[in-house]
């Protein structure tokens, strides 16, 4: 009896210290974007010296601040979408890039840039429409006998991504040389074109998406248990899946419309966060948001200050993500548990 009590107390105390450790990790991730943003604003090819001159103020407020904000929102958008899609489709490999959502949105944005008459509003709208079309096709193709099989989700994503990449190439073919170079650079991802005007157009949609998805953490947990389980728990699976997929498409498309295609972030950030704080989406979603923002901010700051020319972010994100994935692959030995 005494022994039982002892072990019960010990278990209780380990649970509590685990909880404490968990909180420390969680809140550290949540506040991480703040110090990183502060450093990123002061860092760059042009050195900021105190006291600030009017040129310094313009560079801080008019160039670096919007760029830092947009970078954070893009990292957050891709990561939060990746985390939500992984839970809804019950597939740890789901991400905007793998499911073709990024390519669809990029094609829509390219159409708006090259083919349609120029309008600042058309760009995000077209990106959203085609992103949504792309991921809807992927989901429909992947749904075999009433469920999303893991292999079918990834293969459908490959198909849809391939098709929309081809469409994008067609747009490149018909683009005039001047727009072409801009388009090519944009598809590699970059934040050099960010200004306050663009941020004001996409920020409301992004923030709305972030808030709603963050509130849906528990529902995502239930959805990730599988369709029959979720139904037996009173969840309208079809409706909720549509809501999550549409919101993911919305935030991704808005980010892509400004920043171009940024590869891998939506896949590795949720994976890393899950590795650090566990599978509960009530924490994963806000943590992915913060961690994605921090990660992309670091990458972009390196991109613009390492060399005299600017390196497109996708190059660095891919080079960082690939070794991480190799490690992950070795660690899990090819299975997901």
């Amino acid at each position: 009896m005494a022994l039982n009590n002892m072990s019960a107390i010990m278990q209780h105390s380990t649970t509590r210290s685990n909880n404490k450790l968990f909180r420390v990790k969680y809140y550290m991730i949540l506040i991480s974007p703040l110090p990183i943003a502060a450093v990123a604003i002061l860092f760059g090819r042009y050195s900021i010296l105190f006291p600030l001159s009017s040129t310094d103020l313009f560079i801080l407020g008019g160039v670096r601040l919007p760029r830092v904000l947009m970078t954070m929102m893009t990292g957050a958008a891709l990561s939060i979408a990746g985390a939500s899609l992984q839970s809804t489709l019950r597939n740890p490999l789901a991400s905007p890039y793998i499911l073709g959502l990024s390519q669809g949105a990029a094609f829509g944005a390219a159409l708006a840039m090259i083919v349609l008459p120029y309008s600042q509003f058309m760009l995000p709208v077209m990106a959203f429409i085609f992103g949504l079309i792309a991921i809807t096709i992927t989901c429909m193709l992947a749904r075999i006998r009433g469920t999303f099989s893991n292999l079918a989700v990834v293969l459908s994503g490959v198909i849809v991504a391939g098709v929309f990449t081809a469409f994008l190439s067609i747009v490149k073919l018909i683009a005039d040389p001047y727009s072409l170079s801009g388009l090519v650079f944009w598809t590699m991802g970059g934040f050099y074109r960010v200004d306050w005007g663009k941020i004001l157009i996409v920020a409301p949609g992004l923030v709305t998406g972030f808030i709603i998805l963050s509130l849906m953490g528990w529902r995502l947990n239930v959805l990730s248990m599988g369709e029959e389980d979720a139904k037996s728990l009173g969840v309208n699976v079809r409706r909720d899946t549509i809501i999550v997929v549409s919101l993911s498409a919305l935030v991704c498309a808005l980010a892509i419309a400004v920043s171009g295609i940024v590869a891998w972030v939506g896949l590795i950030i949720p994976q890393m966060v899950r590795g650090i704080i566990g599978p509960d989406n009530r924490y994963i979603i806000p943590a992915s948001l913060a961690f994605g923002a921090s990660f992309l901010l670091i990458v972009d700051t390196l991109c613009r200050s390492l060399f005299t020319f600017e390196v497109p972010v996708s190059i660095i994100t891919t080079l960082v993500a690939a070794p991480y994935f190799v490690l992950l692959l070795r660690k899990i030995g090819g299975g997901w548990r």
Binding site: R90, R219, G226, L233, G234, N236
Partner: protein, 268 residues
Amino acid sequence: MALIKIENLCFSYNGFFEIYNINFELKKGEVTTLLGPNGSGKTTLLKCVYGILKPKDGCIYLDGKSLLELSQPELAKNIGCVPQIHNPVFPFKTIDVVVMGRTPYISMFSSPPIKDYKSAREIISELGISNLAERPYTMISGGEQQLVLMARALMQNPKLLLLDEPVAHLDIKNKVKVLSMVKKIAEKMKIAVLMTMHDPNDAIRFSHNIALMKEGKIIDYGYPDKVINEESLQEIYKMPFIILNQDNHKIVMYELEINSCHDPGRTL
């Protein structure tokens, strides 16, 4: 009064999974087992009661109200379902899986309150699995998962509990543990239980009522002693049985002469 009343229930899916003219009642505090060979319509009937399949004809009443009038969350508040075990992708803590049973009571944008965690801990201690609370659900054994899913279904605060072959993959010890728990819960919490099973001995031991199913129909229904005999089992399984009486317990044995048994429908 009966909690669930099933009247003239018929279902068919493109000529498959047919069940006809099902009539029976489930009472609070009683375990009813559907017994019958593979393909006899047990799971189809269960899914109709559960509302996943819409009946073609007939009606199912819960407390006098047709199931078709209930929304999905309302259904989940009244009927708890323990699905066959499968491994989910993400390693949630067991206690979180149990608390998911509260989902029909909370809105899409909120999380379960602390008191739900309290009642989840009460329920798992009732089921004797408190030690699993902080362990990942994906790392516990099949028997434990079955009990966890049962705890989750009980968190829904249901009037009716449905179990689809709850002991299909369990060893004998876990099987006895799960089935005893089902019976105890039904009697203690005054819940009606409907489950499907394959072993007649388990059905006799752990149910108040047995419904024998054959080719989509219920051919007999009642107390185990009344329903289970050599003839009735031979009729549904088309093979010979011997029933022994040991201290007033019926024990079903089978003879190994399946080939000699003539089955006109299944000749090759």
